[in-house]
Amino acid sequence: MKHSRWLGVALIVALSIMLGPFLIIFFASFEPTSTLRFPPTGFTLFWFRKVLSMSMFQKSLVLSLRIALVASLLSLLLGIPVAYATSRYSFKGKRLIELIVTSPAIVPGMVAGLALLRFFVLMRVFSVETTLLIGHTAIVLPYAVRSVLSSLTNLPVSIEEAANSLGSHPVRTFFLIVLPNIKVGVISAFIMCFITSFNNVPISLFLSGPGVNTLPIVMMTYMEYYYNPSIAALSTLLIGLTLAIVLLAQKLLGVSKLV
């Protein structure tokens, strides 16, 4: 096919747009001078050390990790029953529930962040941090449900019936039989949730306050004032971490977990 050459070109263009900047920032993080430049003039690990030692980054990292962990666990806790009910039963209002559960994915993050801020924080219902947690949990829920649901639909109901017929109480069946077999869905759900929460900007943007800042937000404010390779170093670290997670997930689960 003559076309294949052009197709290949398009692919390369696409990949370089998507991945090129990563490589550039990688190199730029070694730049010795205080400016962000490419190609770098030298090599130093100074910025990496600096970034890792700055308390503001450390604190926000801890917060981001904590929020991501709790939000993921919460959303799984809430989402697994919903996914189970959706896949095994049909009941009145099922469509509505499905709609509600997927709605956070449709609503623009900014809008949700603003709304949450106004409603909870300004009305003094919850603290900033709690609202942040609520927001993150809500945002990642749809992903959790979707992932678990797809694992569930691949598990035939007859297996549960078999367990029940052998004397296992339905709740026991759920823990003994269903859960072990949807491990894949649950794990990929957790990873999706964790990453989505960790990277989230819109919600965290509005729901920040003194002492309550997630890592992405801190990075952004830092960027406004300091234009040096420390952010580059941090970015490189984050990108590297993401790459590691993606590769790990692939080894464990296989590629088609997003699709």
Binding site: P156, S158, E161, A162, A163, N164, L166, P170, P180
Partner: protein, 352 residues
């Protein structure tokens, strides 16, 4: 006294029209009963209701005299074998079979003994550590059976367990299942759409159609004396012609068709002037060149060679039917002959 009793069961899925309407059935202890019928006739629905997977709209399910209608599945002492085996993919063969015993809190030593015995019974000794994914279809089904019988259930329920296996394996497993049931004496309800299977395995056969029971009888009875047109067709009888009853004498009737009188056997309730369908089996018809009593004039349309025998397809009026003959007899296509059916082999059943 019947061990399993279904009283006036009406069962529906969700808000749809009921699949079973006022179904009644009695099964004796230790009996092997088959529910036979085409897809959608309600046999699986009946089985699932007995198991407790479905709750009836009205009626009762009695096991051993006790009303189990509202008892949840896990409290019934039943063993179920599914069409797709339904083995627990994350457990070994041993753990699969031991599951029911675990639920009944049987001590570990005993579980080990029982599981080993059960696996021996199905011919899978030594397979304890394997995973279901490592087993063939036939082996998986055996594990499923072992898992169901090891708990010594009151009832054994099997939902088309052999449908997913290839023909040879099916035959093999058929006799194994029969032997097993005889040895253990567990009351068994077996669902199938394969009439040869039902006839080979059962003490009694329940033929179902559209949610109703057409006939309940021993295999021999069903085979020789089907009571309705549906059962006759399902069991292998062919429709020959239609006629009207002119006289009845004990088990026989005289049927008028196109000016000729045919003598046929009746198995159901038939009255004078009833429209009846005349049935016969392919093997029980004889070809003659001269017309005698109980003969139909037919034309040969095609011949299907089957090896030792051949299937000759004849045309009678607007209908076609087949006669099985020794292949040695050859007849040119298109020839007009007579087919003779002795009165005992010609069945007259009411039209439905």
């Amino acid at each position: 006294m019947s061990f399993l009793k279904l009283e006036n069961l009406t069962v529906a899925y969700g808000k749809d029209a009921p699949v079973l309407k006022n179904l009644n059935l009695s099964v004796e202890k230790g009996e092997f009963v088959s529910l036979l019928g085409p897809s959608g006739c309600g046999k699986t629905t009946t089985l699932r209701t007995i198991a407790g997977f479905l709750k009836p709209l009205s009626g009762r399910v009695l096991i051993g005299g006790k009303d189990y209608t509202n008892v949840p599945t896990h409290k019934r002492n039943i063993g179920v074998v599914f069409q797709n085996y339904a083995l627990f993919p994350h457990m070994s063969v041993f753990e699969n079979v031991a599951f029911g015993l675990r639920m009944r809190k049987i001590p570990r030593q005993e579980i080990e003994k029982k599981v080993r015995r059960a696996l021996e019974m199905v011919g899978l000794a030594g397979f304890e550590k394997r995973l279901p994914s490592e087993l063939s279809g036939g082996q998986q089904q055996r594990v499923a059976i072992a898992r169901a019988i090891v708990i010594e259930p009151d009832l054994l329920l099997m939902d088309e367990p052999l449908s997913n296996l290839d023909a040879n394996l099916r035959m093999e497993m058929r006799s194994e299942i029969k032997q097993l049931q005889k040895n253990l004496g567990i009351t068994t309800v077996y669902v199938t759409h394969d009439q040869s299977e039902a006839i080979a395995l059962s003490d009694r056969v329940v033929v179902m159609n559209s949610g109703k029971i057409e006939q309940v009888a021993t295999p021999q009875e069903i085979f020789s004396n089907p009571k309705t047109s549906f059962v006759a067709s399902f069991i292998g009888f062919q429709v020959l012609a239609v006629g009207t009853v002119t006289s009845i004498e004990e088990n026989f009737a005289e049927v008028l068709r196109e000016g000729k009188i045919y003598r046929a056997r009746i198995t159901g309730r038939v009255q004078l002037q009833d429209k009846v369908i005349l049935f016969a089996r392919p093997r029980k018809m004889r070809l003659t060149r001269h017309e005698t009593q109980n003969c139909f004039q037919v034309q040969l349309i095609s011949v299907l060679y089957q090896g030792e025998t051949s299937l000759l397809v004849f045309k009678l009026g607007e209908r076609q039917f087949s006669v099985e003959q020794d292949s040695a007899v050859s007849l040119p296509v298109g020839s007009n002959v007579f087919v003779h059916v002795p009165p005992e082999d010609l069945l007259a059943l009411k039209e439905e």
